[in-house]
């Protein structure tokens, strides 16, 4: 049950391959080719002996045609998906650069978001939408005007004055950051490759290959849209999570093989962190599979958006799971606050230290690919994948429902997947700009003591919801509303409690000096 979407790349590729293969089949000679040789009878063998086959090229081709078609189809889809991944991934470092630049320059996320709609220089010179060709910026201007009218936009407001703090560069200022990734690539590619003298050379060279290849392989199972995927096995979720967990092994190899103390500690940290966070991650994902009743990613998405069953985004059914998935994924892709393996303050980039040139660049690209994959997976597992937000509700609206449905159907599903993934990456960047790095023992404590039990609770809750509350059709809308309301209430209560904890700062609740001596005589008395 795949969703309807006009961008049916898989279908187009299938018909194209079968059409071309049929043509190849048709142009083959249809008559038999006789390669038989008959040896006449002699005294030794009374009957003449016939050796050799009779070829029919068409029949022969017909027997291998399905395999050829499948191979060609897979090749084309791999190329399409890989190319789509590489091109759309340019947006990821772009978001990181632009968003974090604004976050660091200004008050915080609210002002940053505001600056995104007000423009670089706010009210005065920044009406960049008027400069777009053919007047296409008109609607943008109306939207911004409406936003400014709603939330008030005057120079007296501090946020606006902070937005105005930065000079106006026009809208072309947006472009250069986009192609910076190419410049970086060429810079890395032209650098000398240095292997430390005492490094384990084979493992040192193999580690980047492991990291990069497994990272790219993850995208083989990630559907960008209902009809855009390289492979869709029945158990694609299990395949993908298995491959996702291989790259930290490569990190450990790299850290060990470099024969450097910093990389060694970084690799050790990576291994410890992997063990602590892979298990909650897998249990959380298991909850997603349980709720949707499938190990296939496309079916998981279809369960969230199909009208005949499910039809509620998972984030409303299991907010706890979404939160756990976000946290464990940040730890899995080793971003702040969980980037202990590459802590630049004490380990000088940790396990990266000895790598340089294109190997470093590719491993860094792999890191961003993993972040990107994590964002796409969040969009697929929890945010309804390729469905527009509240698409069915909007389509059911009186008067405007029909035209809204038609308008939304023009947007291919891949657009929604990418938009959701990019927005999620902006959340990653936001987290990076506002949090500090956690210490190793705290990361492990957090993983084992809180995330693992919470993920088990999440799994049990998911099973209970699935068994007790699901009647085989679409969800009763009261269920997600109740779940979301309760979760939001708990979140607010916890947030208020945290403010009360500020009083306890004086009591030093987080004393973490090593209680057990690491080795005899090592502890300061």
């Amino acid at each position: 049950m795949a969703s309807s979407d006009w961008l049916d790349i898989v279908g187009w590729t299938e018909s194209m391959t079968s059409w071309s293969m049929d043509n190849v089949h048709d142009v083959m000679p249809s008559e038999d080719i006789d390669l038989q040789v008959t040896i006449p009878s002699t005294w030794a063998w009374p009957d003449p002996i016939t050796v050799g086959p009779i070829f029919n090229l068409q029949d022969g081709f017909a027997s291998i045609q399905p395999a050829l078609e499948a191979f060609m189809h897979a090749m084309i889809m791999c190329t399409v998906v890989f190319g789509m991944m590489m091109t759309t991934m340019l947006v990821i470092p772009y978001i990181e650069r632009k968003f974090i630049g604004r976050l660091m320059d200004r008050l915080g996320a609210t002002t940053t978001l505001r600056s995104l709609w007000v423009g670089e220089s706010g009210v005065t010179g920044g009406e960049w939408w008027n400069k777009l060709p053919f007047g296409v910026g008109g609607p943008i201007g109306w939207t911004i005007g409406a936003l400014n009218k709603t939330w008030g936009n005057s120079h007296e407001l501090e946020t606006v004055s902070r937005v105005n703090n930065r000079s106006y560069h026009g809208y072309w200022f947006l472009l250069p950051g986009f192609f910076q990734a190419f410049a970086d690539f060429f810079k890395f590619a032209t650098k000398e490759h240095i292997v430390p003298r005492d490094a384990d050379k084979v493992v040192f060279e193999v580690a980047p290959v492991i990291i990069l290849s497994t990272t790219v392989m993850v995208f083989a199972f990630v559907p960008f849209g209902p009809h855009i995927y390289a492979a869709n096995p029945e158990l694609s979720l299990i395949f993908m999570m298995a491959i996702f967990g291989v790259a930290p092994l490569g990190v450990f190899f790299a850290g060990w093989a470099s024969n450097n103390k910093y990389t060694l500690i970084g690799g050790m940290r990576s291994a410890a962190q992997l063990t602590a966070y892979e298990i909650p991650l897998l249990i959380t994902v298991l909850g997603v599979a349980v709720l949707s009743g499938s190990f296939n990613i496309i079916e998981i998405v279809d369960f969230q958006i199909g009208t005949d069953e499910g039809n509620v985004w998972n984030i409303f059914m299991m907010p706890l799971g979404a939160l756990l998935f976000l946290i464990t994924m940040i730890a899995e892709v080793e971003r702040i606050p969980f980037d202990m393996p590459e802590a630049e303050a004490e380990l000088v980039e940790g396990w990266w230290t000895e790598y340089g040139g294109i190997r470093w660049g590719l491993m860094f690209a792999a890191e961003y690919m993993r972040s990107y994959a994590a964002c796409i997976l969040f969009a697929l597992f929890f945010l309804g994948g390729w469905e527009a937000p509240f698409q069915d509700t909007l389509a059911d609206l009186p008067w405007v429902g029909g035209i809204t449905e038609f308008g939304l159907s023009l947007i291919p599903g891949v657009g929604w997947v990418l938009l959701k993934a990019w927005a999620l990456f902006a959340v990653f960047v936001w987290i990076r700009a506002s949090l500090h790095r956690v210490r190793t023992d705290q990361i492990l404590e957090f993983g084992w003591r809180y995330l693992l039990p919470l993920s088990l609770v999440h799994l049990v809750m998911t099973i209970a919801i699935r068994i007790l509350l699901w009647d085989g059709g679409p969800w009763n809308l009261l269920i997600p509303i109740a779940i979301t309301a309760v979760s939001g209430g708990i979140f607010v209560i916890l947030a208020i409690d945290e403010d009360k904890d500020a009083l306890e700062i004086q009591r030093r609740p987080y004393s973490t000096q090593a209680v057990v001596k690491a080795s005899p005589g090592s502890h300061r008395d």
Partner: protein, 378 residues
């Protein structure tokens, strides 16, 4: 994992300068440390012996790149003690304004560098943004961006420029608002609290025994500040009190040292604002250079056998200059100059504080002591 020595430095993000910290680790736990200083020893004390008293100020500016003004003032007070100069009161007020603005800039540099130490880069950009305002103010006074050469023996180089008081008031008030942003980013973040609280305990009695001074000592609850203990400028005429953190029984941790510096920035801003209000002659008047209101006549020679010394509250602790005058008939130049650097004394103590904590705590602890290697190696 077996124990091993890691050599952090001389080029390492943790060092904030140029020195080596050898760390013996057992897995992730620090077992032993050994600081190794002296990479940028320039021999400032020896150079000073061949310079006139007025020329030495520029060398003292270069003792610390983050806090140049306090170091040149530190020298100037010792030289005035040696030459027995009576400084006009207006000049003292101008000096106080310059010193306190420099202290804010130095603490902002520290706070900005402390963020990347524990993994947050945003605070660095924010702090440097506000540090620019302070450096603009100091540039108006001294004429250059980092090494101002502002004080003179007997007064200051120039009076407050036109409009300085207005700009300084506006910027300091804006800065007082922005401190709340740093606190919002730091104190309200649980991750910062778990990284800084209970880490790097320094007992006050140990700090006193080792000679640790300044904000690091006041974080441990010891209310010792040269500015009130041995008042030198017009500090005794202003309404202020040194921020002292009430630390736990284990001593001062990184969070205490962070808090005390945040409060000290507030106190410095308030001191500068008060001085602008109280300055004799008014903050908006402008005297010509070498006017007796801002510069007293000073002798250029110190006879043999005289000596001058002065305690000074630097941004990082108690700095001290000892100058012996005369000698070999060269009364225009000092016979001997000796500098007490607060951080030279603090670094070995900070290295000792790390033992028992994790590797990730090394930059957190070292950064919280605010090292500056320029003055350490002299």
């Amino acid at each position: 994992m077996a124990e091993m020595w890691i050599s952090m430095g001389p080029q390492h993000p943790m060092t904030h300068g140029l020195w080596t910290l050898k760390v013996k680790v057992d897995g992730e736990t620090v077992v032993d440390t050994e600081p190794d200083l002296g990479y940028i020893h320039r021999g400032v004390e020896k150079i000073c012996e061949a310079r006139d008293f007025t020329q030495i100020t520029t060398y003292c500016d270069r003792l610390c790149y983050a806090s140049a003004n306090t170091w040149s003032h530190s020298y100037i007070y010792a030289a005035e003690d040696l030459l027995e100069v009576e400084v006009p009161e207006r000049a003292e007020y101008i000096r106080l304004i310059a010193i306190e603005i420099q202290r804010i800039a130095s603490h902002l540099m520290w706070l900005g560098a402390y963020g990347p130490d524990i993994g947050n880069l945003s605070i660095m950009v924010w702090c440097l943004r506000e540090r620019e305002m302070m450096m603009d103010l100091l540039q108006e006074l001294g004429g250059s961006r980092m090494h101002y050469n502002f004080p003179r023996i007997g007064g200051v180089k120039r009076d407050l420029p036109y409009g300085f008081a207005q700009r300084a008031r506006a910027k300091l008030k804006l800065f007082l608002n922005r401190i709340q942003e740093y606190e919002a980013l730091y104190d309200e973040s649980t991750i910062f609290l778990v990284r800084s609280q209970g880490v790097g305990y320094a007992k006050p009695e140990e700090m006193v025994n080792h000679g640790v001074t300044g904000p690091n000592l006041r974080a441990g609850g010891v209310n010792y500040d040269v500015r009130w203990a041995h008042p030198y400028s017009v500090y005794s005429e202003l309404d202020w009190s040194a921020p002292v953190e009430r630390s736990s029984i284990k001593g001062a941790d990184c969070y205490d040292r962070y808090r005390v510096r945040i409060e000290e920035m507030r106190v410095s801003a308030s001191l500068a604002l008060q001085a602008l209000d109280k300055i004799p002659g008014g903050a908006d008047t402008h005297y010509e250079p070498e006017d007796p209101m801002i510069l007293a006549k000073a002798p250029s020679r110190a006879p043999e056998g005289t000596s001058g010394a002065h305690h000074f509250e630097d941004s990082r602790g108690e700095s001290m200059f000892y100058i012996a005058g005369g000698g070999e008939g060269r009364g225009k130049q000092p016979y001997r100059v000796s500098i007490r650097s607060p951080i030279f004394i603090t670094i070995p103590f900070a290295a000792k504080c790390m033992i028992g904590y994790k590797v990730a705590d090394i930059p957190a602890i070292m950064g919280s002591f605010d090292p500056c290697i320029g003055e350490t190696d002299r």
